[in-house]
């Protein structure tokens, strides 16, 4: 697996993601030099000019480790996931999208047809009288053009290929990346399938922990722009929907330190199967009312419940996607 110089080969790849995870790698700052020193980067389309053919040319398992970020949304991403899986010893789902589906996973509230219709026809900025749509293949005088197929459902990386480890976060916190890379290089890895982050919720490391009252029940939920926030008191105690109690720690609570509630990007602990359902169950439990109408009014203060509780994890949830009323039109990936 090592190259002639004896350095292990690693690869980075991105699928349906925003690029933030690539930034996070760069955010290693001077630590990245240690990484570059220790490994031979064999594939990193964002930064280095290797092509797919270079990966195909590698022997199976030649990559010591491969970090894939982004969810799986197109046929190209799926192919690359399979290819990199075959070439890699350790495959790491890097960041919320690869781990749980992430923000792109919220597209599972719609289907391919609705998305294409919106993007190529009904969005107010679209000028497309011919109704042109991207095609998987098109014959032109110059020859045949092809594009990857856009699937009906967004999937997590482990719904596509077998994944060895997960680095959670949007993007993964630098500290966790360093720990993970070090662990891989030193061969000190936890059991396969582990999430490489503490298995305790964020409250345990929250700087505001001691300010949370012992008996906190809520009659009102408020959004950050509606409150003049106290910079030291527990945000839930201020009526803000902070998802820290439901979310894996390990990030050091930078959002909470910056006066913003946790939105849950590191996902659930290992003991929870459905992040959104659990967070919702916890919130519903602390609503301070026995009156149905009042409870409904409190819960109605959650703007966009799916986008709040499943912001990063809809494809990984028990629901996975909104139910389809009809079979996907031809060739879509069904879930």
């Amino acid at each position: 697996m090592a190259d002639p110089a004896g350095k292990p080969k690693v690869a980075f790849y991105w699928c349906a993601s925003c690029g933030g995870c690539e930034e996070a790698v760069v955010d290693l700052a001077e630590d990245i030099l240690k990484v570059v020193d220790a490994v031979d980067i064999a594939f990193w389309p964002v930064a280095l000019d290797f092509k797919r053919a270079d990966v195909e040319a590698l022997e199976d398992g030649a990559l010591a480790a491969c970090f894939i970020n982004g969810a799986i949304r197109t046929s190209e991403q799926e192919e690359m996931a399979h290819l990199l899986r075959r070439k890699s010893g350790v495959l790491v789902a890097f960041g919320s999208c690869a781990h749980l589906g992430g923000i792109p996973g919220l597209a599972n509230l719609f289907d391919r047809e609705a998305i294409l219709d919106r993007v190529y026809r009904t969005a107010p900025t679209v000028d497309n009288d011919d109704g042109t749509r991207p095609q998987v293949r098109a014959e032109t005088p110059e020859g045949r053009l092809t594009l990857p197929e856009f699937s009906d459902t967004v999937r997590t990386l482990d719904q596509t290929v077998e994944v060895d480890y997960y680095l959670p976060g949007c993007p993964p916190p630098v500290g966790l990346i360093v720990d993970a890379v070090t662990a891989i290089l030193e061969g000190r890895l936890p059991p396969r399938g582990s999430v490489l982050a503490p298995d305790v919720a964020l409250c345990s490391e929250c700087p505001r922990k001691t300010t949370k009252p012992e008996r906190l029940l809520l009659k009102e939920l408020r959004r950050p722009h509606e409150v003049l926030m106290d910079p030291e008191t527990c945000l839930l105690a201020q009526g803000l929907l902070c998802l820290g109690p439901a979310t894996r720690g390990g990030c050091g609570a930078p959002c909470v330190s910056a006066n913003m509630p946790c939105t849950g990007c590191l996902g659930p602990t290992s003991r929870v199967r459905d992040y959104g359902a659990k967070a919702l169950s916890a919130l519903a439990s602390v609503v301070d009312s026995n009156d149905e109408a009042e409870i409904a009014a409190v819960m109605a203060q959650v703007a966009d419940p799916v986008g709040t509780f499943y912001r990063y994890s809809l494809p990984a949830s028990l629901l996975r996607r909104r139910a389809r009323r009809h079979a996907p039109a031809g060739g879509g990936v069904s879930s």
């Binding site: 305790v200 919720a201 409250c203 345990s204 949370k212 008996r215 820290g244 109690p245 169950s281």
Partner: protein, 665 residues
């Protein structure tokens, strides 16, 4: 995932038993097919069907198989766990396994009794059995806990039910706290004149019992008091009681009534609650002559001292050195610890104004039956004279049965006592006034000891019995002041319009207005009509779904005095059985915090209905007291990081069960 307990040879070995329950199950479900299917499921070593699994041979079959086939898990698919879970857990334990390595499947109430399609019911039974097989794999061995029972008892409600229960318990020398909301015990029965069918004087049979309550050293009587909080569990309840100020010191007042005589109001001018507003009282009053405790009460709403602070306080003056009047008294609470609780909170009568066409509250000569009880009573507002509000003696009276009972628009149920008390009132009115009495009934229901005989007697006395539901009550034209009662006489097939001087509405019995609050406080359930629900209508009629809390009297459903007293005795006996056992075994399905996983977010702390969760400052984590935990699962569902688990309801067990029930073959 946790590793299951395994047999000595290293495997989980499941035995599945499908019960025919005679034809209860086998009549609708192909028991043979379910058994054959069960045999194909993973880890199932033995699958059998048997006519009655709960019988001795059925249980022996399980135990023999445990020995012969080295079974480690037992599943019985039969009736409701409510009935036989205990039986089969014991049989499993008798075979040498931990009793919690057993899982019950209800294919009777959940399948055979509710379906007619044999094929579909059989498939459903297979699904349910498969869910149990998937689940039971993950069962862990559990131990029951034993906790002591506090011998003191709380009885809530001082009507005849509460009185009888309290006296029975006190007779066994158990200490009873009897808490009554009104200033006196006695309840509805104290308002009645005579009781059916024997025509005993209600007061004559009730007041000796009331006095017995007052003098019994084993009873602490708190009237004008309400339970406002209940914590804990069977054997160890902690109850908070609010004691309202009566502004008269109970220990000093002797009930001489001189203060009432001396009150600056020379005449009584405020509606008297005990007589339903038919009589008047002063701001300081005794609820009724035989009240227990016989202690005066001051109504701050009408007392001048409370309203202006400028009263001459002649009451204080006349009380003199006794000094029993205390205007500074304040509401306070007491906390008591008891092991068992009997709820005897009674009923309220149907509000007749809800049926406008009967004219109650509109026509002064329309009365409720309870008002007429007071009119015929010698200690009532008219000293037993049945007279109308204008002082006339009625010459004709209509008694309308089923007001607020057996009626789609109000209550569908039969209130059980109205036919009999209507016949009683017919008899008493006739006796007092010699009036012509017409009873309008839908069906005459007299199914008790001596009831039919009483009905015959009243009929022979000349009471007019008209079978027909009254459709309307309206004034007779002219100024005779009479009312016309209109009904279709279904025996004659004719509409009858009968002019009468007085209409008596036989109002039904309803749950108390605050029954839902009481239900929540005591963590019990209500039936659809709102009466407290017994654990089983036949086999546990005075138990509730909360261990240690029992029901007596009309809070559980309409009933007459004999049934109420019988039920109160039964509730007392159930409480005594627990007390005399000394300890009680608690189910081991408790919740626990996985300490290393807890983030200390405190979400769970305020949720526990049993105050079993505390936040440990030293570790900054939550902790559950397993003795206090009742296994309700609220904290398990709420824990945002999945760090609270529950024995017998582990995530693996529940998810596997769901998977099993949904994994259609």
């Amino acid at each position: 995932m946790r590793e299951p307990e395994i047999s000595p040879d290293g495997a989980v070995r499941v035995g599945v038993y499908i019960c025919h329950c005679g034809t209860n199950i086998a009549g609708t479900i192909d028991v043979r097919a379910v058994t054959e299917y069960a045999a194909t499921l993973p880890h199932v070593v033995v699958a059998r069907d048997y006519k009655y699994m709960c019988s001795d041979p059925g249980q022996t079959l399980i135990q023999q198989d445990i020995r012969d086939h080295h079974l480690t898990r037992i599943i019985v698919a039969s009736c409701s766990p409510l009935l036989h879970e205990h039986t089969f857990r014991a049989a499993t334990a008798g075979g040498g396994l931990n009793p919690y390595h057993f899982q019950m499947v209800n294919i009777r109430e959940h399948a055979s009794w509710v379906h007619e399609d044999r094929q579909a019911a059989t498939e459903k039974a297979k699904d349910l059995v498969r869910a149990a097989v998937f689940r039971v794999y993950f069962h862990e061995p559990l131990e029951r806990r034993e906790v002591p029972i506090n011998p003191d008892v709380l009885v809530v409600g001082g009507g005849i039910a509460g009185i009888h229960a309290a006296l029975t318990l006190a007779g066994a020398r158990k200490h009873v706290y009897l808490v009554e909301r009104e200033p006196s015990i006695g309840g509805h029965m104290a308002k009645f004149d005579k009781t059916f069918p024997t025509l005993d004087c209600a007061a004559c049979i009730l007041t000796p019992k009331m006095t017995a309550v007052r003098t019994n050293p084993h009873i602490t009587l708190w009237t004008y008091s309400e339970v406002v909080g209940v914590e804990g569990y069977v054997g160890n309840f902690k109850v908070t009681v609010k004691r309202k100020p009566r502004y008269v010191i109970e220990d000093l007042c002797v009930g001489c009534a001189e203060c009432i005589e001396a009150c600056v109001y020379k005449a009584a001018r405020f509606p008297d609650e005990f007589n339903l507003g038919l009589g008047k009282r002063k701001p300081i009053y005794l609820p009724f002559p035989q009240a227990v405790p016989l202690v005066a009460v001051i109504d701050p709403e009408t007392c001048i001292e409370f309203k202006s602070g400028k009263c001459k306080k002649t009451c204080v003056e006349v009380c003199g050195e006794r000094n029993a009047i205390d205007f500074t008294q304040e509401e306070h609470t007491e906390t008591i610890e008891v092991g068992t609780i009997i709820l005897a909170t009674g009923f309220q009568v149907f509000d007749a104004k809800r049926i406008p066409y009967y004219g109650y509250g509109v026509y002064p000569n329309v009365y409720t039956a309870l008002e007429v009880e007071r009119l015929v009573n010698a200690s009532g507002p008219t000293s037993g004279e049945v007279v109308l509000r204008d002082g006339r003696t009625p010459k004709s009276v209509a008694i309308v049965h089923c007001v607020g009972s057996r009626d789609e628009n109000t209550n569908r149920y039969c209130s059980r006592v109205c036919c009999m008390y209507s016949l009683k009132l017919a008899h008493l009115i006739k006796e007092h006034t010699d009036a012509e009495v017409y009873n309008f009934y839908i069906d005459m229901r007299t199914p008790g000891k001596g009831f039919e005989e009483f009905y015959n007697r009243v009929a022979e006395e000349g009471t007019q019995l008209i079978r027909g539901k009254v459709a309307d009550v309206y004034p007779e034209p002219g100024d005779g002041g009479r009312l016309i009662v209109q009904a279709e006489d279904t025996l004659l097939g004719k509409v009858r319009k009968i002019p009468v001087d007085m209409v008596v509405l036989a109002v039904g019995l309803e749950p108390q207005a605050d029954a839902q609050d009481v239900r929540r406080m005591f963590n019990i359930t209500c039936s659809t009509e709102g009466f407290f629900l017994e654990r089983h209508p036949k086999l546990a009629p005075v138990n509730t779904f909360t261990d240690g809390i029992f029901l007596a009297g009309a809070c559980q459903g309409p009933k007459d005095i004999p049934d109420t007293v019988a039920q109160a005795g039964s509730a007392a006996a159930e409480a005594l059985a627990l007390i005399d056992a000394g300890t009680v075994e608690l189910e081991p399905n408790t919740a626990y915090v996985v300490e290393e996983a807890c983030s200390g977010c405190k979400t769970c702390v305020p949720l526990c209905p049993y105050s079993a969760i505390s936040f440990m400052e030293a570790t900054q984590k939550a902790q559950i007291n397993e003795v206090l935990c009742k296994g309700c699962g609220v904290c398990v569902a709420a824990c945002p990081s999945g760090s609270i688990r529950q024995h017998l309801f582990q995530d693996e067990e529940i998810f596997e069960e769901i998977k099993g029930v949904l994994a259609h073959a």
